[in-house]
């Protein structure tokens, strides 16, 4: 058994969806994957029954802001892409940076970005995203 600590994680991203690269300075990420359900209960049923339907995901990546850190600017500014074709690709790693291993990957859209500056704290950026298309899980 091997537990994993949060600091082992990382995030890779490419706004054009061609070649993911590490974002330096990520502090946390989270992803919630949701499957819709369809009610298949028939007249006369005593108990409801369902089948699974469309799967989608959403989540957040938090950064310790550094304007010079590799990958941060492209990630933060993707939110202002007009008519976003959801061509950006994400890979969220629980540990390491080997593509396709200990990660979840998908194409998606950054839906909002929040940057905050507070006395006594580091400037941090929080970006929310939604997935678009297939979510590939390599969390085995």
């Amino acid at each position: 058994m091997a537990t994993i600590r949060g600091e082992q994680g990382s995030v890779q991203f490419d706004a054009a969806g061609s070649s993911n690269a590490n974002i330096v300075g990520t502090r946390s990420w989270n992803l919630t994957t949701t499957k819709e359900t369809l009610d298949t209960s028939a007249h006369g049923s005593t108990f409801r029954s369902f089948v699974g339907s469309l799967v989608s995901g959403s989540g957040t990546v938090e950064l310790v802001y550094d304007p010079d850190a590799s990958g941060q600017a492209a990630f933060i500014e993707d939110v202002i892409t007009a008519a976003d074709p959801a061509d950006a690709t994400f890979e969220l790693f629980t540990t390491g940076t080997s593509s396709g291993s200990d990660s979840v990957s998908f194409a998606g859209i950054i839906t909002d970005m929040e940057i905050s500056s507070t006395v006594g704290e580091l400037v941090v950026v929080s970006c929310n995203f939604i997935t678009s298309g297939t979510i590939t899980s390599n969390l085995q």
Partner: protein
């Protein structure tokens, strides 16, 4: 990106003080692990830099990661005994102004504490106050 060089951080902190106290009126300054024989009835400053805890700031294990390193500078200001605190506080102001919320070479200094008068000086025959300044540096691996 590289691991922090704590000796460089120390040199940044101490160099800033040495430069300031070399200005007129010059005041002797002594650092950790240095012998010093003060002249009676003179003013002098002792600067003690210590590093404290570190903490994770970001993800990435040993690469593409950030840590916060914190530390403390203790500045003991010694001046003539029995002549009031004024001369000592003049030095205290010079030192306080030197570090107050300053960012030098990636070392962020917080608001200083003191000068605090000590009832029992570390060096006999002097009036002593103490300024403490916490600082932090972000290590980028």
């Amino acid at each position: 990106m590289a691991a922090a060089d704590l000796n460089t951080i120390r040199a940044t902190i101490e160099g800033r003080l040495a430069t300031e106290l070399a200005n007129s009126p010059a005041i002797p300054v002594v650092f950790h692990n240095m012998s010093f024989d003060p002249t009676p009835d003179s003013s002098w400053v002792q600067c003690l830099t210590s590093f404290g805890s570190g903490e994770y700031l970001g993800q990435g294990s040993t690469s593409s990661a950030q840590n916060r390193i914190v530390g403390l500078v203790v500045l003991n200001i010694f001046s003539s005994k029995g002549v009031g605190p004024g001369a000592n506080y003049v030095i205290g102001k010079r030192i306080r102004d030197l570090y107050n919320r300053v960012n030098v070479s990636g070392v962020f200094f917080d608001a200083p504490i003191g000068p605090e008068a000590l009832a029992k000086p570390d060096a006999e025959g002097y009036f002593q106050t103490r300024v403490r300044v916490t600082f932090e540096s972000i290590e980028e691996l």
